[in-house]
Symmetry: C2
Subunit: 256 residues, 2 copies
Amino acid sequence: MKIVLLGSGNVATHLGRSFKMAGQDIVQVYSRELENAYHLADSLAAEAVEKLEDITSTADLYIIAVKDDAIREVAAGLSLTDQLVIHTSGTTDMNILDGISDRIGVFYPLQTFSKSKAVDFRQIPIAIEGNTEEVTSTLKGIADRLSEKVIELNSLERRTLHIAAVFASNFSNHMYALASRLLKTQNLSFDVLRPLILETALKVQTNDPADMQTGPAVRKDYNTLEKQKELLLQDESTLELYEKISQSIINYDKQG
Amino acid sequence: MKIVLLGSGNVATHLGRSFKMAGQDIVQVYSRELENAYHLADSLAAEAVEKLEDITSTADLYIIAVKDDAIREVAAGLSLTDQLVIHTSGTTDMNILDGISDRIGVFYPLQTFSKSKAVDFRQIPIAIEGNTEEVTSTLKGIADRLSEKVIELNSLERRTLHIAAVFASNFSNHMYALASRLLKTQNLSFDVLRPLILETALKVQTNDPADMQTGPAVRKDYNTLEKQKELLLQDESTLELYEKISQSIINYDKQG
């Protein structure tokens, strides 16, 4: 299969590597910034392209892995008829590709990518959606070769998954960052929290997170909550988060 | 060493098991609820006690592992002179034990304990504090036999560590729980987020969490933030958390 990769960020980089390792042929890498295109194209033995009009129309698959608000513009620059075109965004509906080709779809790998860190793509869930059964089935075949965890989701389901992932990953990472900053006020090393963080994530690998909740809020230990707030009086926005999240734990109901 | 364990909750249970495995002699387990005392005492080959006046005064170490607001009351019920008495609370100052014995201290294991799940105590940081150098040094000797990660912290440092742990563990777990509930609105399984959660925790084992932050907020992708908020309009308190935490990510400065 001949693939054109549009984008050169984290998702494009990891997807490009994975397709390459799965034996696919990446023919072109497009980026508005030629240097970025060169860098990624080099490692994939592909041609670097900085103008949309230089993109070949003879590839089998066009993967648009650019920022959400650039998807439409990049897609509109392609001259295609029925070649398969997909984007990789969790938040963006498939229909943003309407009219670009007869065969459109979405291919959303659910992971927190850092360019510098290798990932085991086989374990990364990939949510797919196609505008016809044929496209969905083709995308499933493609995704199955990269990951053991392929799921079909419509656009609303995918958006829900994406926001859930923001809570589970971006927001939990921010809790680590706030913890790290609190420790710095006493010159304490973040090392001391690392085993706790790992254990917290490991516990929910086989359990429901609501059943694993510990700490003063879930115990409704208002005494401790008040004492902890005293320590945050110098840091208004962290104090507000402490109060809001504690209240959310106290009020939590699994069914919403 | 002869140990009296006061309390029968998660911390008492895990500490009791660890001391036992380290070859110490747990002579008594106290709980206001005799059944709980029996249950834990049984597994430790200790005597179960439900009245404070039945606690022996000939042990070497008294570990008060009860709820924070019960520490003083339990301690006041002991008749001791210079036997070593410690509590296990992160939030409570050592001086709550003033006057109970000449030798008082704190022994705070930093972990999220669930009774049902075994933990590797060797990897759990233990923060110790003693009212004299002799006590601190004795506690260090005791803690070193349980854990590779013993640190000396004063009461303010320990309280800071405790609140940092609330962010890093309780609050991140709550982010998982909110994610789980969001997925349920579309009948999606939490399984799909589990690899992402683990990867997020693994990344900060060797990196600074602020450097690992991904997602729309840290990219200042206001477009995506607005689109995600639309999905939360039915759930006011989750929407408010989404806004506050996103804003906190946008404003985050490592130095505070």
